[in-house]
């Protein structure tokens, strides 16, 4: 017998009642208590992590999936799309998303949401990861604002998000060129920013592009900085050779904007403030051109044809540009039956430096009036004989009839006197030619001529000449035989050649058909050629009348 049996049965061997103290609660109840604690903890965790529920309106729910699409900020999941439904007007979708608790601090009325999908543009590829992982919703918290729960999502990701250091600038241009949102902005061929947006100005007269220049490059944008389109290639052929300029290969494809501050001793060196407005020039050369703030508009009335004069044509003073043509209009004066063509020019007066400023001429108007009194006139001149381009020249014509700047000319601009030079000039030169002819010794020339003819007759009558003529006859006969032989031998080949030529012509005809592009281009080229020929003819005529001009030039004004 063991001890246990002894204990159970007692010393007397009789069964003994076991006295057991009952625990009121079994240890096994720990299990459900632990389970309940775990459950409570889970519920608490779920409730404490529950953040704001938001709705975002998008145009389409492309790539979004309820229960799967995440809301991310800086690539950290902060929520999930819970439902996607059509908006009440059926024009868009409403995306409901449950965010985590921490997101409460992120979202406000200024928060912007957008869908990140894979996008490929000429300048960059974005969101490549989403090709595999699917789209997700990104957000930019924006500046602090009032709490909000309903948002309108952006269709395009914003180029610049909050907290990116840098500055915005506004650029005004007449054309958009190939600028897109996200197009690069270059400074000395380094990419320093992007185009954020562009829109038409309220009156529709220009395009206002908003660009963002990153820190620290925004400090290079100064008050006198020039911006220009850096799109594509700038090919230039001039006396210096061929120059090709481009900002980068990307800008070649996608377009871009470049800026630089050209050395300018003037003011405007301080940094441009946020939101400063600049002009966006067409090209680097246009941007480099010094902008003259002082420009006076004048109207010039010409009687002759202004064919070849275009807007932007230079206004030159002895070869130096002092302004340009702004506008060309037409005006028919029925009373005097005259057609006068008003040409509006901008005279950049401060381009003309004065060695000393005479007294009483402190204003530009007074100075110009004085110069006009001294014979300053505007005149149309041919810039190029080949193209027939005209420009407006300012020059002194002391012989010109007296004129004044009339302050109230047509179109509200003061009228600047012109001089109708070309024909007058030609007339004067003709007179001088006749003078020269008068002085020619015609009698002497006649005598000399007669003597020469006599000498010639003597040569003609000589026997040597007769002999020479006879031998020439023989030579001609031989030549005729040769030709006959050639005809017999070469005729078939010639026919074949002609056949070939005809076929070639037929092919050429197809190319040159009236509707072929070659034809159109050829026509244009022929027109150009005709213009050139016309100009050449003018030159030839002039030279015919002034043979000496070929040597001595056009001659000087008297």
């Amino acid at each position: 017998m063991t001890d246990t049996d002894l204990e159970a049965n007692g010393a007397d061997g009789l069964p003994r009642a076991e006295v057991r103290r009952r625990r009121s609660l079994s240890l096994v109840w720990v299990v459900p208590i632990v389970a309940a604690l775990i459950g409570a903890w889970l519920v608490f965790k779920a409730l404490s992590e529950k953040g704001p529920e938001i709705t975002i309106a998008f145009k389409s729910a492309e790539g979004l999936e309820a229960g799967k699409t995440k809301v991310r900020y800086k690539d950290v999941d902060i929520g999930q799309v819970t439902a996607i439904e059509l908006s009440e007007d059926l024009k868009g979708v409403l995306v409901r998303a449950a965010l985590v608790r921490d997101a409460e601090r992120l979202i406000s009325e200024n928060t912007r949401f957008w869908v990140v999908r894979a996008r490929v543009s000429a300048s960059a590829i974005y969101g490549l990861g989403t090709v595999f992982s699917g789209a997700y919703i990104d957000l930019d918290p924006g500046p602090p604002g009032k709490p909000a729960r309903h948002f309108t999502g952006l269709e395009e990701p914003p180029v610049v998000t909050t907290g990116m250091p840098g500055r915005h600038f506004l650029l005004e241009s007449e054309r958009r060129e190939s600028i897109e949102i996200g197009s690069p902005v270059y400074f000395r061929q380094i990419r320093v920013g992007e185009v954020v947006s562009f829109h038409l100005s309220e009156d529709g007269s220009k395009i206002v592009s908003k660009i963002f220049v990153h820190d620290p490059y925004h400090r290079f944008v100064r008050r006198n900085t020039r911006f220009w389109f850096a799109s594509g290639l700038d090919v230039r052929i001039d006396s210096a050779g061929i120059r090709v300029r481009t900002e980068s290969l990307v800008s070649l494809l996608a377009g871009g904007i470049a800026f630089d501050t050209f050395l300018d001793p003037g003011d405007g060196r301080e940094e441009a403030p946020e939101g400063a407005v600049f002009r966006l020039h067409a090209g680097m050369d246009a941007a480099k051109e010094r902008e003259y703030d002082e420009r006076d508009l004048y109207v010039l009335l010409f009687d002759e044809s202004v064919r070849g004069l275009s807007r932007g044509a230079p206004l030159e003073f002895r070869g130096l540009q002092v302004g340009k043509v702004i506008d060309i209009k037409t005006e028919l004066d029925l009373a005097s039956n005259r057609v006068r063509i008003p040409v509006v020019v901008a005279l950049e007066t401060d381009r003309i430096a004065l060695r000393e400023r005479p007294k009483g001429m402190e204003t530009r108007e007074a100075l110009l009036a004085f110069l006009v009194e001294r014979g300053l006139r505007a005149q149309l001149r041919t810039a190029s004989l080949l193209t027939g381009q005209l420009y407006v020249a300012l020059d002194f014509f002391p012989k010109a009839p007296p004129a004044r700047i009339s302050p109230k000319g047509p179109y509200g601009y003061p009228e600047f006197p012109t001089t109708p030079t070309p024909f007058e000039e030609i007339g004067a030169k003709l007179n001088r030619l006749v003078d020269h002819l008068d002085r020619m010794p015609f009698d002497e020339i006649g005598r000399d001529l007669r003597a020469t003819i006599k000498g010639a007759r003597r040569v003609a009558d000589s026997p040597e000449l007769v002999e020479a003529v006879q031998s020439l006859n023989g030579a001609l006969k031989e030549l005729r035989e040769l030709v006959r032989e050639l005809r017999a031998g070469a005729a078939p080949e010639l026919t074949a050649t002609l056949e070939e030529a005809r076929r070639a012509l037929a092919a050429a005809q197809a190319t040159l058909a009236a509707d072929s592009p070659v034809q159109a281009r050829l026509n244009a080229a022929l027109d150009e050629l005709a213009a050139a020929a016309r100009a050449l003819r003018t030159l030839a005529d002039y030279l015919e009348r002034h043979p000496e001009a070929a040597l001595f030039g056009k001659g000087k004004e008297k």
Partner: protein, 208 residues
């Protein structure tokens, strides 16, 4: 009830729980294997209740939390048991959906329900169809281990689908809860003494 055979208890005997040797009830330990001798499993009802309640508590997170997280090409997708069933129904795989639904949702729930019913009926001293109730208990005990099917599938998948960045499957937080439900219901079924069903029918008072 008709005359039922005498039970061991009525004869003043008790069966060893381990080696099933019938010994007099006066002994506290089995004379053969020396394990504690009880006429009925001690505290059977309260133990079963405790385990059953714990299982029921774990049943909720097991079904609400994601069971698996499938990462395909960087895109993570978490599925609960029910969303997996819905997925299979949507893709037309009815049989698979049925298997998962029955093995993972219905069976644990039925087990908990049956055990609760048995406990309540025993506690109320019901004499309602003891044979069928015993059968129910037997089925519950038999079927218990098969509820681990879901855990097995997840385990195998996690081990098999491990293609690095391409695709991988991770067990979700629901897996341990689900395993706990299965284990706890199995323990609950074990701790329940089916003889209690018959005790009332033979008009005996439980001393337990």
């Amino acid at each position: 009830m008709t005359a039922s055979p005498r039970t061991a208890r009525q004869a003043g005997m008790a069966a060893c729980e381990v080696c099933l040797l019938l010994s007099p009830r006066s002994r506290s330990r089995c004379p053969r294997c020396r394990s504690p001798l009880h006429s009925r499993k001690p505290q059977s009802i309260s133990r079963t209740w405790a385990l059953l309640i714990a299982a029921l508590l774990f049943y909720f997170p097991a079904n609400l939390l994601p069971m698996t997280t499938v990462v395909t090409l960087g895109r993570a997708q978490s599925d609960t048991i029910l969303s997996g069933v819905v997925y299979f129904i949507q893709t037309g795989s009815w049989p698979i959906a049925a298997v998962i639904f029955i093995a993972s949702i219905l069976v644990p729930l039925l087990k908990i329900g049956i055990l609760a019913f048995l406990l309540v009926s025993v506690q109320r001293g019901s004499t309602y169809r003891p044979l069928e109730r015993t059968r129910l208990y037997r089925i519950t005990e038999l079927v218990g281990r098969w509820s681990m099917l879901d855990i097995f599938v997840v385990t195998v998948l996690v081990a098999l689908v491990n293609l690095g960045a391409l695709a991988s499957i991770q067990a979700g937080p629901a897996a341990p809860f689900f395993a706990a439900v299965v284990v706890l219901t199995m323990f609950a079924a074990m701790s329940f003494d089916p003889r209690l069903i018959w005790d009332r029918c033979s008009g005996e008072e439980s001393d337990d």
